[in-house]
């Protein structure tokens, strides 16, 4: 829309006044008193986090050696044969269901489900009391996954039979 009468003030021209529009999404600016400067408030916290993480890694590395078994031998299959711990839940599912379900459908559904989550859950509220379905579903999924991971990691021995970790240890990191 053209301004019918632009006023000229010393090399500056007011082209028109338009209603403001948020730059990103449905932007609501927080009140001034609800914000803090990143320098130093957030930077110092991130620096402390970095130091804590480094100390944790240094301590673990100083006291526990990374495992190194005998050299790889394609003719000698260990029993049990274990995937890395973060795939232990999938391996446990593989023992329970058809490989197409456990090896393809479940991991595929988890990744796709996570990607699609913000488009499925259209409830705009972030109030925990108003999103009990989403929170319950996610919590159930997480607990199931952690349980399956622990079972595959610690509670499975020879021929994938059930063992108690305090009697026989088969977890590999």
């Amino acid at each position: 829309m053209l301004d019918p009468d632009p006023r000229v003030i010393a090399n500056k021209r007011l082209l028109g006044v338009v209603p403001g529009k948020p730059g990103v999404g449905d932007r609501k600016e927080p009140a001034e008193e609800d914000t803090v400067m990143v320098w130093p408030n957030l930077l110092i916290r991130h620096a402390v986090t970095a130091l804590v993480v480094i100390v944790i890694v240094v301590l673990i590395a100083a006291f526990f050696d990374a495992p190194l078994r005998e050299i790889a031998n394609p003719t000698n299959t260990p029993n049990p044969e274990k995937a890395p711990w973060y795939f232990a839940a999938l391996q446990e599912l593989l023992a329970l269901f058809h490989p197409l379900v456990a090896g393809v459908l479940v991991p595929g559904a988890i990744i796709l489900g996570l990607v699609a989550l913000p488009y499925i859950d259209r409830n705009p509220s972030i109030d925990p009391r108003k999103r009990q379905i989403a929170r319950t579903a996610f919590t159930v999924f997480m607990l199931l996954w952690i349980a399956l991971t622990l079972i595959g990691f610690m509670f499975r021995g020879e021929n994938w039979s059930w063992v108690w970790p305090w009697e026989e240890w088969h977890g590999e990191l």
Binding site: V24, G25, R27, K28, E29, P30, D34, T35, V36, M37, V38, W39, N41, L42, L43, T49, A50, V53, I54, I56, V57, V58, A61, A62, F64, D65, A66, P67, L68, R69, E70, I71, A72, P74, E81, A83, P84, W85, Y86, F87, L90, P99, L100, G103, P107, I111, L114, V115, P118, N123, P124, S125, I126, D127, P128, R135, F138, M142, E172, L173
Partner: protein, 245 residues
């Protein structure tokens, strides 16, 4: 005047920092705009974002772990040849003969496991505070991509020591790929470079582990952090309850 301030205000300091003052809020904002690393940060954030309860600092912990993995990983690369004839012996040499070799290999291994945990925990924390809601949906999607990249990095690295643990874990892991309908066998063969885990697998996993996946992760991570900065001043719905709506 403090020493750090004197350094910043020297001729070299001025050329380096451009805005040497850190006194007023305006100075600090100018510092952000003229500093490459700081420009990944917003100038201001909402108060809630600096509390432990809100983020548990899991995102930054993941980045720090990735940094540790990069440094220790480059160190390990100096002493490691990715072939079945050399790999295992090289790892033994790193542990027994290289100065700090055992310690840095340990750090690399444990930081890798911790990074998987930290990234997964970051995902859970973001879910529980509802930070994937509009307009941040797509940054959640990018985060899921980063989780997958983290798992792939960890898995490809798992093979490199070429011991029994590595060999059979990767045999089990890649066997799952064979179950994909129609193209499963081809996918498995593409990963392994043959019918079983062998010399081509080790080389492929090595190249993925030290070049392809880290570069991909840094690229995607940059977008992730950039979007976080852009959204850092967003007030989410019902942040302050429903009263202000």
């Amino acid at each position: 005047m403090k020493t750090s301030e004197r350094i910043r205000k020297s001729t070299i300091g001025r050329s380096f920092f451009r805005n040497p003052d850190r006194v007023t809020e305006r100075d600090r904002a100018a510092g952000h705009w003229s500093n490459f690393l700081l420009h990944l940060y917003p100038v201001k954030v909402r108060k809630v974002e600096i509390t432990f309860k809100y983020t548990a600092f899991l995102g930054v912990a993941s980045v720090v772990l990735f940094g540790i993995l990069t440094v220790t990983g480059i160190f390990l690369m100096f002493f490691y040849v990715p072939s079945p004839a050399n790999a295992y012996g090289d790892v033994q040499t790193i542990q027994n003969q290289v100065a700090f070799g055992q310690f840095l290999r340990n750090s690399h291994r444990w930081a890798a496991h911790l990074m998987v945990l930290a990234v997964a925990a970051h995902l859970a924390r973001v879910f529980y505070r509802g930070a994937y809601k509009p307009p941040k949906e797509f940054n959640w999607v990018i985060g899921v991509v980063l989780l997958v990249l983290t798992l792939l990095l960890s898995f490809t690295g798992y093979l490199l020591p070429w011991d029994q643990l590595a060999y059979w874990a990767v045999t089990v892991g890649t066997a799952m790929a064979a179950y994909v309908p129609l193209v499963g066998d081809q996918v498995q063969e593409l990963l392994l470079g043959g019918p079983t885990v062998g010399a081509p697998t080790l080389l492929r996993f090595y190249v993925l582990h030290v070049a392809v996946l880290p570069v991909a992760l840094v690229a995607v991570l940059t977008i992730h952090i950039w979007r976080w900065r852009k959204d850092s001043m967003l007030t989410m719905d019902s942040d302050q309850g429903d009263t202000d709506a």
